[in-house]
């Protein structure tokens, strides 16, 4: 049996011009409501004093972790991970408990607080465009990127490419590929000319969040069983009620405006 290679993104902050074509493309491709988004701009923006200036920003969406904390935390199996890596979220299964939001170290899953659970609000996040990648296309954000700041491919290959770029231009890049090891490895790999913290990225250990949380959950389960059963019954009831309503709702999120 051949091993299935994980797919990934490579983002290069030195190439990104913050034009937001990726954000518009994602919004159209995935039919995202006008007040929502699945891609954000992060980072400190302009830094320094006139005329000695630099700019630090990046776009990001779900990191599609190799060991997704959201998936581990989800009590109803709304999250699944495809064999080729993408972490998929199924709103039909979601009960709106928001555990995944706490479990994600990148703050990716968003919840529609305007609606609340009774109105049928769900989590939302990037899906890796399975409708496109399974059709031989690149994800919408990658396909349109005018400067190739976003690239798509097999994770192994992109990692190799990223290290080659650092080796070719050691003065241009920080000597690290963010996401190679962070949180046990992510499928959104990042190259940068400024420290990753300036792009708004957390300093994470190599041990994935869920390695810790799963152990803890293992201990607490018997204790929580009574409580859990009661809560689950209530939530499941609400969920069933929601399922009858046809309206599809999505999550609240805001695009952080970078200092321009």
């Amino acid at each position: 049996m051949t091993e299935i290679k994980h797919k990934a993104f490579l983002f290069d902050a030195t190439r990104c011009i913050d034009c937001r074509a990726c954000m518009v493309a994602c919004s159209v491709e995935n039919n995202i409501p006008m007040d929502k988004t699945r891609i954000w701009v992060a980072g400190v923006g302009i830094k320094g004093e006139f005329p000695n200036l630099d700019r630090a920003s990046m776009v990001y969406h779900c990191m599609h972790c190799e060991h997704p904390g959201c998936l581990s935390a989800c009590p109803v199996g709304a999250y699944t991970q495809r064999e080729d890596g993408p972490v998929i979220y199924n709103p039909d299964v979601c009960i709106g408990c928001r555990y995944c939001m706490n479990a994600c170290p990148f703050g990716v899953p968003h919840f529609d607080y305007d609606k609340g659970i009774v109105d049928g609000a769900f989590i939302d996040k990037c899906t890796f465009c399975p409708q496109r990648i399974d059709n031989g296309q690149q994800p919408a954000c990658v396909a349109t990127c005018p400067t190739d700041a976003l690239e798509y491919g097999e994770r192994d290959e992109l990692l190799k490419k990223a290290h080659e770029r650092i080796a070719a231009h050691p003065n241009r890049y920080v000597n690290h590929v963010y996401g190679e090891f962070e949180n046990g490895g992510t499928s959104y790999l990042i190259l940068s000319h400024v420290p990753f913290s300036e792009l708004g990225l957390p300093n994470l250990p190599e041990t994935p969040v869920n390695a810790v949380s799963e152990a803890a959950i293992g201990l607490t389960l018997p204790v929580a069983l009574g409580w859990g059963a009661a809560l689950t019954a209530v939530t499941a009831g609400v969920h069933l009620y929601n399922r009858k309503k046809e309206e599809v709702a999505t999550v609240e999120s805001t695009t952080e405006e970078v200092g321009i």
Binding site: I17, C19, A21, F50, A143, P146, H169, I260
Partner: protein
């Protein structure tokens, strides 16, 4: 982010779209049927159709994904040299230009006062009869010259011009003098070509003078520049503002506004006085090599240091680096080069730097000055010659502006003639796909000129600000709903074809101009049955069928004969760094320094520019672009703001000689202390633009009209303003 349209608006939009579908079903679904025949759509009507973007004038190739009669996604066409599979944010948002809830889908006739925004729906027959009747009245009473025509760069412009010339008016306003007159006149005079094309394959050194390529995106060229930087090419970028291009440059030079040409002339001085250029080689092809050393002697780096604020040593070093890169150096011609009354000289200096590097002359060099006539090789409908026009142009070309090409014009000068009635009074204005209320400087003056008009008609897809003040609005089909004439790019002629049915009563410009022409008694000038027939006539010399072009999205063009000789379309056949034409017109034959005015005490240069999410004044109402744009603000240097007691997000009043505007402030390190910059394109007056109305301020309310005497370009950065807390 700022507010976006609500979920309820979304539902409303869906309802409007299904209503349009019902209407569509009563008519034969021509677009879908044709797309099925071309193999683009399956039996269910789903699939992909190649066409061309129109969110700016770069015209990328696109592939539209269509489902159930609606366009649901646009991707860049990998086969098109302008897109190469990519689209910028504007291109990606294109379907919301078509599905904008504010689309005008019926002809409208004004019922209230101008500017009240009260219109009634009318049939095409009634609206066209009214427009043709008014135009005929004006022609009979005052002569054809009393009608002003204006339109901005678009693929159907050839038929707009056909209507204008057949009608017999000399008065034609385009966006060109508000945009690239300086570049085009300078390069035409120097190289005999309007806009030389750039090649980045082997570029080592790029000099960009305010060409904000990373925000004023031209998809393929932005991509090429980015890849060149990635490879290690050096980019030196001159701009008073730290734009996103500045952030990608190897070296950003925050030069004093209006002094670019001093910087460039000093570069030329360093190159020629140190004999850094291969003069023996260059001499064969350039007029002016002999005298240039003497002529440039006075422009020393020390002299330029005093004027530009850039240290002499920096200028000298950059000049030497530029010269060392030889034909792999590129001084970018720029695009919107209408900044100061000396912008023509800036462009002449850029043209000269390129001549000295040999980049145009050396095979594989970074600049190409080949002349290729637009539309050459394509057929055109046969038609009678145009009537002779004897009336002078109201914009002063050529009697006041002898070197401005007729097709460029000096749009901003029209209004004085309209207001004074000299040399004669204009009475009507026919406008297509243009928004002079927003684009011309001194908006008050534009509206006063509108007040002098007996009749104004506008063709557009939304109620833009000019339509808002018009008497009749003719609704055009959007670029995803219509055909336009073919566009040759390199060895292919690309097709814009409808990917969905036009919504409501919207119709193509080709149809509108023909209908109007027939009603004006000018039917002989419109020798095409419909849009497809027009394109078939274009294709005839190529021997290609329209069906084949619809399927592929383009037609192959025969290769142009290239005899290998280097000649230029100038009087001497050479590159004219020294120009007799300029001398004969009473101007300096050499690139020269002209001192522009400087701001007074407490005044700032008011800079304009571009953001990646918008094209001029036409896209702010697109809900998707609105969603992903930053809030428009007035940029001011943070330290200056602090001295004035202003902080971020304060509301400020900006005042110029001709008007005032209110804006929120962005206190930032990213701009020179003597400049402010207003996010362009906002401050719309039309309440018919429900997404954009009430947001931001318009710099056209502040801009003073200043015209470069040689190129006719409007000096858009020469307005000085004061700023105080609102």
């Amino acid at each position: 982010m700022t507010k976006t349209i609500s979920r309820r608006d979304f539902l409303k939009l869906g309802a409007a779209a299904s209503a349009a579908l019902v209407v569509g079903q009563m008519l034969p679904p021509l677009v879908a049927q044709a797309a099925r025949e071309a193999g683009h759509l399956n039996a269910a009507g789903d699939g992909y159709i190649p066409s061309m973007c129109e969110m700016c004038v770069w015209r990328c190739g696109l592939i539209a994904k269509v489902k159930d009669g609606r366009v649901v996604k646009l991707d860049g066409n990998p086969e098109h040299p302008h897109s190469r599979g990519k689209l910028c944010p504007r291109g990606q948002s294109g379907l919301m230009n078509t599905y904008d809830p504010d689309r005008v889908l019926n002809p409208l006739i004004r019922v209230g006062k101008r500017g009240e925004g009260l219109f009634r729906k009318a049939s095409w027959d009634e609206a066209l009869d009214l427009v043709a009747g008014k135009m005929t009245d004006i022609k009979e009473k005052y002569g054809p010259e009393a009608m002003v025509f204006s339109s901005t760069h678009n693929l159907s412009q050839v038929q707009f011009e056909n209507l204008l010339y057949a009608f017999g008016s000399p008065n034609y306003g385009t966006q060109r003098s508000l945009c690239f007159n300086a570049m085009i006149t300078a390069f035409s005079l120097t190289y005999g070509v309007e806009e030389p094309s750039r090649k980045y394959d082997d570029v080592e050194f790029i000099l960009m003078v305010g060409r904000n390529m990373m925000e004023a995106i031209s998809t393929s060229e932005t991509s090429e520049l980015s890849h060149a930087i990635d490879r290690g090419a050096k980019l030196v970028y001159l701009d008073p503002r730290y734009t996103k291009t500045a952030s990608k440059a190897t070296e950003w030079i925050p030069i004093r506004p209006g002094t670019d040409s001093a910087f460039l002339l000093a570069m030329i001085n360093v190159i020629v006085s140190n004999e850094l250029a291969d003069c023996e080689f260059v001499k064969q092809y350039v007029v002016g090599c002999d005298g240039i050393q003497d002529e440039m002697r006075r422009y020393t780096p020390e002299w330029a240091d005093q004027i530009t604020g850039v240290p002499a040593a920096t200028i000298e070093r950059i000049a030497r680096e530029y010269a060392a890169a030889k034909h792999n150096a590129l001084a970018h011609p720029g695009w919107r080069t209408s900044n100061f009354i000396n912008s023509f000289q800036t462009e002449r200096a850029i043209a000269t730097l390129n001549a000295l590097s040999g980049n145009v002359l050396t095979p594989g060099g970074c600049l190409t000055a080949e002349v290729s006539a637009e539309g050459a090789g394509l057929g055109i409908p046969h038609q009678p010659p145009y009537p002779r026009i004897s009336a002078p142009r109201l914009d002063g070309v050529p009697w006041k502006y002898p070197l401005v090409p007729l097709k460029l014009g000096v749009f901003q000068e029209l209004r004085d003639a309209i207001l004074t009635g000299e040399p004669y009074q204009a009475h009507g204005w026919f406008i297509s796909r243009q928004n002079p209320v927003m684009s011309l400087p001194d908006r008050t003056k534009t509206l006063e000129a509108f007040g002098k008009m007996d009749f104004i008609a506008t063709v557009d897809i939304i109620l833009n600000d000019t339509a808002w003040f018009s008497d009749v609005i003719l609704p055009e089909a959007s670029y995803l709903e219509r055909y336009d004439p073919l566009l040759p790019v390199g060895d292919k002629a690309f097709l814009r074809q409808p990917v969905i049915e036009p919504q409501g009563e919207a119709r193509s410009a080709l149809w509108i101009y023909k209908q109007l022409g027939e009603r004006l008694g000018l039917g002989d000038y419109f020798q095409y049955e419909d849009e497809e027939d027009y394109i078939r006539q274009q294709l005839k010399p190529l021997g290609v069928s329209l069906e084949e072009v619809k399927e592929k999205g383009y037609a192959e063009m025969p290769e142009e004969d290239k005899n290998g000789e280097i000649t230029f379309n100038t009087p001497s056949g050479k590159i004219e760094v020294y120009s007799e034409t300029l001398k004969n017109a009473g101007f300096s034959p050499w690139p020269t320094w002209e001192e522009p005015p400087i701001p007074g005490k407490n005044e700032f240069y008011l800079l304009t520019g571009k953001v990646a999410q918008h094209t001029q004044f036409g896209t702010q109402n697109n809900p998707l672009l609105h969603k992903y744009s930053d809030e428009p603000r007035l940029w001011m240097n943070a330290k200056t703001a602090s001295k004035l007691g202003l902080s971020n997000d304060d509301w400020v009043e900006i005042t110029s000689q001709v008007g005032a505007a209110h804006s929120k402030l962005l206190a930032t390190e990213a701009i020179r202390p003597d400049c402010v910059y207003l996010t362009p394109g906002y401050g719309h007056l039309s309440k018919g633009l429900k997404t954009a109305y009430g947001i931001g301020a318009s710099d056209s309310a502040l801009h003073v009209t200043y015209t470069d005497p040689i190129s006719g370009g409007q000096a858009l950065s020469q307005t000085f303003v004061t700023v105080k807390k609102a």
